[in-house]
């Protein structure tokens, strides 16, 4: 089995959202993805990292950890924060739900991740943080 992995840590600044998704796209490019697959992954990473910044750290500064793993043609992406955690993960995953309506958020972040990736798991503990694990198997590889 072919294996590869990477880890990246960065402060929860919104300017790093584009940095994170470009890094994952560059790492995933070794799987020879289609443009559509690459866009799907970038969008899902952007949602998870944005959640960590806005909801995990509530715009205060913290560290976001991004880990990617390749096993043959399967990509696993982990986005972790040590922020406030999600009280009710099931509710947070509902389309249109947002805990911060004052921010003009659409509440579609998890729905986008679920649509664009093959699987999305969310592990969260109040006061400790949240980890989102997403996988996608590339058809073209």
């Amino acid at each position: 089995m072919f294996k590869n992995e990477m880890k990246l840590e960065f402060p929860s600044k919104s300017v790093n959202e584009s940095f994170a998704r470009v890094v994952v796209a560059a790492f995933a490019s070794q799987l020879d993805p289609t443009l559509e697959e690459l866009s799907d992954v970038k969008t899902a990473v952007s949602e998870a990292v944005t959640n960590a910044i806005i909801h995990g750290y509530e715009d205060a500064e913290g560290i976001v950890t991004l880990r990617c793993k390749i096993e043959d043609n399967k990509l696993t992406i982990e986005v972790e924060d040590n922020g406030k955690g999600i009280e009710n993960v099931e509710l947070a995953r509902q389309p249109l739900y947002t805990s911060r309506p004052e921010l003009e958020r659409s509440g579609m972040g998890f729905t986008v991740m679920e649509t664009f990736m093959d699987s999305v798991e969310v592990y969260s503990e109040l006061g400790k943080g949240t980890k989102v694990i997403m996988t996608k198997t590339f058809k073209s590889a």
Partner: protein, 111 residues
């Protein structure tokens, strides 16, 4: 994100260039709202030709402007959506509240 504003037939056209995410959304919404207020216009066309990335933060920007103009009996349209961005529009049900057109010209005829 760079924005270019123009007005045609009483309609504000916003040409967007770059990536529309949480980071760029705040600046975009302020600039667009200021322009809407400055001109007192209630029709808006978002031109996505120069947008190469959008996530769900973009949905918030579009819905927010839609709500604002709705109070003034206004309308919002979008043109030149790339396939990936169209997927996000479809997923979020945005086409229930606004229309997509082939070109700015066609949008102007139908708004």
């Amino acid at each position: 994100m760079q924005l270019k504003f123009s007005v045609e037939d009483g309609c504000l056209i916003v040409e967007m260039h770059g990536e529309l995410d949480h980071h760029s959304a705040e600046g975009a919404r302020i600039k667009i709202d200021n322009k809407i207020e400055e001109l007192g216009i209630n029709k808006l066309i978002f031109d996505f030709a120069g947008v190469n990335f959008m996530d769900s933060s973009g949905i918030g920007v579009i819905i927010g402007r839609y709500k604002k103009l709705k109070d003034y009996d206004g309308k919002v349209a979008v043109v030149n959506l790339k396939p990936q961005i169209k997927k996000i529009f479809e997923l979020s049900g945005l086409f229930k509240i606004l229309s997509e057109f082939e070109s700015t010209k066609e949008a102007l005829l139908n708004l």
